[in-house]
């Protein structure tokens, strides 16, 4: 695989391979010395045009645990502020010798555009409202580990709740969960649903309470108030009352049900309970698994070659 830009582009074989590889990386992360020499001499450059805490640190940690060198580019202190174009910026960094770019950008399709300007591998760390495929992978890895379902997600019921419209996480999760066989239901007010949900492999409802007790995974999305240019919900308190995980809703979840959130959380909005008090919360595990799946992606992109596989 040369690039990892969306779940659909990677396809089911690669998604399964990466999840298997992530199990291996998770074992590395549990060791007293969680570092392997696999990508010595490779350089990974994080290019983030949008704010990020966990994704950027997670990619940087993943690269370092594989012994790759890392470079970090942040827009605020760059020559972009002097008017340098995106293309010139990328070509300049590439000329320093970069094997992979990890890209986050507010515009859909940026990772595909940048791939035309450099020979380096491209990892999509979030483009606009479009895709966030490593988040989807880490969500799959978390579900897989929690339920012991390395065979796939056939029969698993997943509800994705909230601001689906602005969520690249939701788009990538829908692709990945349904690719692995899960039944996905979107739960959101109509104003927060994307167009053409009838063409997606999902069911849609506006009634959280109707599905709450039946789901195996409750996936809460962040209200992306920074992307909302119009009044899509009348009031955040009303949103919480209808679509938030409130103390009253927690006991109505099935005993085995997982509660997930991609972070950062708007406490009191989509999640009105301390996650530590939700028995099925795997929100912390999601963050931990993020490092393992990103190690898997980087190793898959940078760790192979054209010679035949060794036999002994």
């Amino acid at each position: 695989m040369k690039h990892f830009r969306s779940i659909a582009e990677a396809g089911p074989d690669a998604v399964r391979r990466l999840l298997d590889l992530a199990d291996h990386m998770a074992e590395v992360n549990r060791r007293p010395n969680p570092k392997v020499p696999a990508l010595r001499g490779k350089t990974v450059c994080n290019v983030f045009f949008e704010d990020s805490t966990r994704t950027r640190l997670s990619f940087e940690t993943a690269a370092k645990r594989l012994s790759a060198d890392t470079m970090n580019f942040s827009v605020s202190s760059s020559s972009l502020n002097k008017g340098e174009s995106l293309r010139d910026t990328i070509e300049t960094i590439a000329a320093m010798g970069v094997d992979a770019f990890v890209i986050r950008h507010r515009s859909t399709g940026t990772p595909w555009q940048i791939a035309q300007w450099t020979n380096a591998s491209i990892v999509n760390a979030g483009d606009g409202w479009h895709a966030h495929p490593t988040q989807a992978l880490l969500d799959c890895a978390t579900i897989r580990t929690a339920f012991g379902r390395s065979d796939g997600f056939d029969g698993l019921r997943v509800a994705i709740v909230g601001d689906v419209k602005h969520s690249r996480v939701a788009r990538s999760d829908i692709e990945a969960f349904s690719m692995l066989g899960a039944d996905v239901t979107l739960v959101a007010p109509k104003t927060l649903l994307p167009p053409f949900t009838d063409r997606m492999p999902v069911a849609v409802t506006t009634d959280l309470d109707a599905v709450l007790s039946e789901v195996d995974v409750l996936y809460l999305l962040r209200m992306q108030t920074e992307r909302m240019t119009e009044a899509l919900v009348p009031d955040l308190r009303e949103y919480t009352a209808r679509f938030g995980l409130t103390p009253a809703r927690v006991p109505r979840l099935a005993d085995h049900a997982l509660v997930m959130h991609p972070g950062p959380m708007n406490r009191g909005v989509e999640i009105a309970v301390d996650p530590a008090e939700i028995p099925g919360s795997v929100i912390t595990q999601q963050v931990t698994n993020g490092i393992a799946v990103r190690m898997a992606v980087l190793f898959d992109l940078l760790g192979s070659g054209s010679l035949p596989e060794a036999t002994s």
Binding site: L21, H24, E27, P37, G303, G305, L307, E309, S312
Partner: protein
Amino acid sequence: MSHPKQVLGPDDVRRAVTRMAHEIIERNQGSVGVALIGLQRGGVWLADALGEAIDRIGHTVPVGSVDCSLYRDDIGLRPVSPGSVSDISFDVDGATIVLVDDVLYTGRTVKAALDAVTDYGRPTAVQLAVLVDRGHRELPIRPDFVGKNLPTSSDEQVVATADGVTISSGER
């Protein structure tokens, strides 16, 4: 590729494993501090079989496995796919580790395994047990316990399982 020729049958393998188990106990004057680590994936069945054989002699040793794909020196040259998760649930510090593999060839896998195992701790000693030593070493590595020395040419393929050892010539 020509028809595979059987070099050892299942009984031969069983006898070789039993002999190697005795040799491991003899060399280490018992089993105190000894642990077996099979190399994923070919060496894992052999490590299990050696562990059971040592059991039958009346000793008990922990058995683990290591996947050393991330330590190989051909990463970036050819596809390297860690197919399995390492499982070392005992303390490597101060132990006498017997690395176990099915076929010893260039020695590069063993070198990677040495790097992998020493990341878990500092063993007192590391020994190497292989069912088949087929020659063609590219590194200064030699086995301590060998089931069978099998002279081969480098275009031949050797397969070693509990069901026997076969050799087939032909293109790779």
